[in-house]
Symmetry: C2
Subunit: 197 residues, 2 copies
Amino acid sequence: MIRYPNGKTQKTNKTETVAAIYANRGLSFEHEINMSNEYYLRQNRAVIYKKATPIKVVKMIQSKLGHCIQEAYFQAPSTTDYNGLYRGCYIDFEAKETKNKTFFPLANIHLHQINHMRAIVEHKGIGFLLVYFKMLGLVYLLDYHHVMEIVDAKKASIPLAIFQTKGQEVPQGYVAPIDYLKTVDAIYFKEKKEAIL
Amino acid sequence: MIRYPNGKTQKTNKTETVAAIYANRGLSFEHEINMSNEYYLRQNRAVIYKKATPIKVVKMIQSKLGHCIQEAYFQAPSTTDYNGLYRGCYIDFEAKETKNKTFFPLANIHLHQINHMRAIVEHKGIGFLLVYFKMLGLVYLLDYHHVMEIVDAKKASIPLAIFQTKGQEVPQGYVAPIDYLKTVDAIYFKEKKEAIL
């Protein structure tokens, strides 16, 4: 049974697994993260945005609606998907989903994104990979430090066990569908629990 | 005389003012900031990028070159131009130029950008406005706190004197044309001068 904030409830078939519920809910992982960020913003809890996808404009005209792009192509992003500010700290993360049940293939991450992650680690930002294991219905957070360990060991993928031991599961909710700031609090701010923003 | 790093020099007419040199150099302020950021990135000094302009795609087709955008419009950015990570801190800034010699009109900044600046201040990020006074050939940095003071006082513009007293002039150079991190060091890290990144 899912209890909505308005007091209404919705019965779910008990045999349905969490995975099945989430697999069917029809919202993309990215969209759910964006919804979470909007919630955090409304609550004045953090200022985190998805970066716009850079495009290469080939042809542009002036139309009634303003500058109209008539030919353009998406460019591979040179950095990660999201960044922002939380509790006075720079936050940077990349969000990915996979259908694999036991590992996350690193081929999903571009070399320049790896370089960006390494730079964030060096410059002492908070950076992590969020992976949604679709078939398991589970989301994990893994710090860039650990991602770099795997990359430097020339592995082709990150085993689920690494996410489970070195990372942490991200709670999923209603108002913040991917409530990753709870996990960020637990990992990065555990010694500052009493700290007020 | 401009001395380039390769040892070559270029004679300039002594009657030319700094303003005239910069007015004629043909590079936009934005382009010069991007060059500075690329330099900082190459030097592994900071990880700061211009945010891509968000677009609204109306029509897209599949072409030989990949997804081709056939109709799209630029959307007003909901945040500021630049953000990133420097010395472990979140950095956020908006860059503007003006032809006015004695003030910067606030009409140049959208309301949602003002709201974003306020959020950066509240969440303890480092945030500032960089203004290039074109006719003076001078660039100033002014912390968002001071921008908010002017906004909250319902003023329509920020006088040059405020930039000179509450802000600081940004040095201009060759490898980093708008060397704003020097100013950031002077303003935000003066007590941490000995700190290693």
